[in-house]
């Protein structure tokens, strides 16, 4: 025998189920008066620094149907590439920007929408620069463990080409699944495909 490492096992995931809204966005689900507002609705205010953008999209299942019971969260750096987090050790992020957003898919169309700012670039652990990106986390009925992915920007071709994650993906044909489409004026569309020819790359982070 040897000494034990004494590590605990992570609590196993279970699906968020069809009623995730009750716990995470109760006002959206019709439970009003318990919390003043749903968390993660507002990421920016008038004093937030950076270029305003909107990100919309849908999460689409293997039959091509948008999920109408999905919950999407995003996490991103501020305009200077700093995270508003106690775990950020490189400097002080913009205090007027939370960096975190939460949005349920519309119950009819499935669309999610975030009003945010374009993030700055952040370093990779080896010192290279990661292209500007937004981390996505997706939960819903039928998803047994939350899915992580990233959205990159279509107008950052050079940075995307040098990005440590994008550049090491073996199946280059799949890289565009991580890049949003621009519809002009700071509006980006990022559809997430759970299956099929355009299955989005999901990350084991």
């Amino acid at each position: 025998m040897v000494q034990s490492l004494g590590l605990l096992k992570e609590t196993p995931s279970q699906t968020a189920g069809p009623y995730v809204h009750i716990g995470c966005v109760p006002n959206f689900s019709g439970i009003e008066g318990v919390y003043p507002e749903d968390l993660g609705r507002g990421m920016v205010n008038a004093r937030t620094r950076g270029e305003r953008i909107t990100v919309t999209g849908r999460v689409i299942d293997g039959t091509g149907t948008p999920l109408r019971d999905v919950l999407v969260e995003i996490w991103q750096a501020d305009a200077m590439g700093l995270y508003n987090s106690p775990m950020e050790t490189r400097g002080q992020a913009d205090p007027e920007f939370t960096g975190w957003g939460r949005c349920p898919g519309d119950m009819t169309s499935g669309e999610f929408r975030f009003e945010t700012i374009k993030p700055g670039a952040v370093p990779y652990p080896d010192g290279r620069i990661q292209a500007p990106h937004i981390t996505f986390w997706i939960v819903a009925r039928g998803i047994n463990i939350g899915l992580h992915t990233r959205m990159y920007f279509p107008d950052e071709e050079a940075a995307n080409a040098a990005d440590p994650l994008l550049s090491r993906i073996e199946h280059k044909i799949r890289v565009p699944t991580l890049i949003a489409k621009s519809s002009g004026g700071g509006a980006y569309v990022f559809d997430i495909h759970l299956q099929g020819d355009n299955e989005t790359i999901f990350l084991d982070i």
Partner: protein, 250 residues
Amino acid sequence: MPESIRNDQSPAGANFPRDRSWHPPAFTPWYKTSVPRSPKQALISLDGTVSEITGPVFGHNMLGELDNDLVRNFAKPGESPIGQRIIVHGRVLDENGRGVAGALVEFWQANAGGRYRHKKETYLAPLDPNFGGCGRTITAEDGFYSFRTIKPGPYPWPNGVNDWRPAHIHFSVFGHSFSQRLITQMYFEGDPLIWQCPIVKTIPSREAIESLIAPLDMANTIPMDARAYKFDIVLRGRRSTLFENRMEGN
């Protein structure tokens, strides 16, 4: 530029890799909705960068006084929901066994009859006018949390012809890193429906399932008032940054 090696825990390490064989796989056809919603391609591994190591923080000042009291946070003045009064308490820990301070824990559940307060809920059990079904809290320095509620009822759901969910409470937990993000469900000791549930059975091992079953905790029960159940939640641990191969100037 290592000046000296410190023996305290550095905050900057990435999380331990997730043990994917311990969690449910994406494709579990006995839970039918997973079939069209499970990715088919392999996940791409990404050791945590600053984007994953960091995470949002929530302050205690955002909490309302009744946020962790589901018995009172939706009830009309002077009234209470119907059902068995219980307290759920425990600690949020990481895999290193350390308490996770300041973790936002959100919970939601059906009422005592197994009915959710939700537009899309169709079960014929009645709504309880005094029960909303949502609550939240933020862990203390040692990771401790607690809330008061009524014990949820089991409910039938459309999957197999006659599938029932065991009584359960849904939990959403934030750690310090966004990569620690977790949603799970807590079950109650002694419920025979646990071992028949297709969603429970998405978890491969009996040992992992048992880690979701809260024991009755008579020691912390409030006599003549509410029974207690204890539910500890373990988030991913974090590597110490002992001798990382970082380039100078980072």
